[in-house]
Symmetry: none
Subunit: 230 residues, 2 copies
């Protein structure tokens, strides 16, 4: 998942190459769009708004350099060029037309992926504040920062407490069985030790419920498991 669901446009007329490049990118977690001509590629680039473009220079309908220049007239997106042409002048021309990298066929998939990562890394928006905050009652759980607030005050949770809470949040509203909780928080081999759950649920309630004796969010489902009511 190192490509983190990045949208990638692949313009390549050779169906075989297109196929394995697409697969490689998808395996790494990318979302791939394809085009087999320059004209089609330009339309896709405009409509899909990809985060990166992989462009074959040897297209049937248009000169690859032309495609680069066209895109550069309205977009800064990173462009990695694929080409069978090894001449230095071809590389220079593509790079000066606006490409960011140039890879000669045949190329290795690991290298392509590494260059894709390098381009995406550079292009990544610095801010990105994902804002993944989960709220219930007077609590806020920031999963990205691993921080928990209760009534505005920061609450310290131990590793197991936090993992337990995070698991319940992930299944918010649904009942999570004893077995599943033990598996996710303590790992395999602890399935029988369900008493731990009672101990740690008490601690969570103590820290997060307004009235720990009568929990409003961290609920018991007798004989089954626990549930987080949001």
């Amino acid at each position: 998942m190192s490509l983190a669901a990045a949208r990638i446009l692949l313009i390549e007329d050779d169906a075989v190459i297109r196929g394995f490049v697409r697969e490689s990118l998808q395996t790494e977690g990318g979302e791939v769009f394809e085009a087999d001509t320059g004209a089609r590629g330009l339309i896709e680039a405009a409509t899909r708004q990809p985060a990166l473009l992989i462009l074959d220079l040897g297209l049937p309908d248009r000169d690859g350099l032309d495609v680069i220049r066209d895109i550069r007239s309205w977009s800064q997106l990173p462009i990695i060029v694929l080409s069978a042409r090894t001449q230095e002048t071809a590389k220079v021309a593509a790079l000066d037309a606006g490409a960011d990298d140039y890879l000669i066929k045949p190329f290795g998939v690991p290298e392509l992926l590494a260059r894709v990562r390098a381009q995406l890394r550079r292009a990544a928006v610095p801010a990105g504040a994902a804002e993944a905050v989960f709220r219930f009652g007077s609590n806020e759980v920031d999963l990205a920062q691993r921080r928990v607030l209760h009534a505005g005050e920061e609450v310290h949770l131990t590793q197991l407490e936090y993992r337990l809470l995070a698991t319940l949040i992930r299944e918010q509203g649904r009942v999570v069985t004893h077995r599943q909780l033990m598996q996710e928080v303590w790992g395999p081999g602890y399935a029988e030790r369900t008493h731990y759950l009672r101990i740690y649920m008490k601690q969570l309630r103590e820290k997060l419920e307004d009235n720990p004796a009568q929990p409003a969010f961290l609920l018991t489902e007798t004989g089954v498991g626990y549930r987080l009511q949001a």
Copy 2:
């Protein structure tokens, strides 16, 4: 004048290569600084503040990947790697360590210049983002200049201290796991030596916290990692 007087740092131990690369860059209008060892190079990078770095991986004194990681801990400047190693794994390692491009020796000067132009072009866009000073408590950390002030006084941090701090700053607020810190500061292969973290965290606290015994910013998340609270 296509390089537009850009400041370029060249780290290369081979005097012959260094010579003709320098000349080529200067002919195109670049301002070139040189270093023939990794250690010297890091100092030059910090003091000259180049717009681009060309780095030979086969340095006599330090592992080239380590140099990349070090620079990446405090700077986003484009890095073009030169190397005699053609193996794909070497390319992937360098790119994933933070390099932006990888050129195999022997390379053509026109191609190098084109790749330099491509990197400079891309880096030129977000120019306004300067002024990267991070503040917490009575501390100011200038990531661009690699300078740290505590209560107005300049504080000297060692290489590892600085990298650790820079990593925490980059993830400001978030918990950074032991594993991730070890990976980013010491590199792969040190994952188990988490005791180093305790030693260096203590030293950072000693230098930056008002009350090192009760840290207010450099916080421990027991069993998980550390966090910089801004």
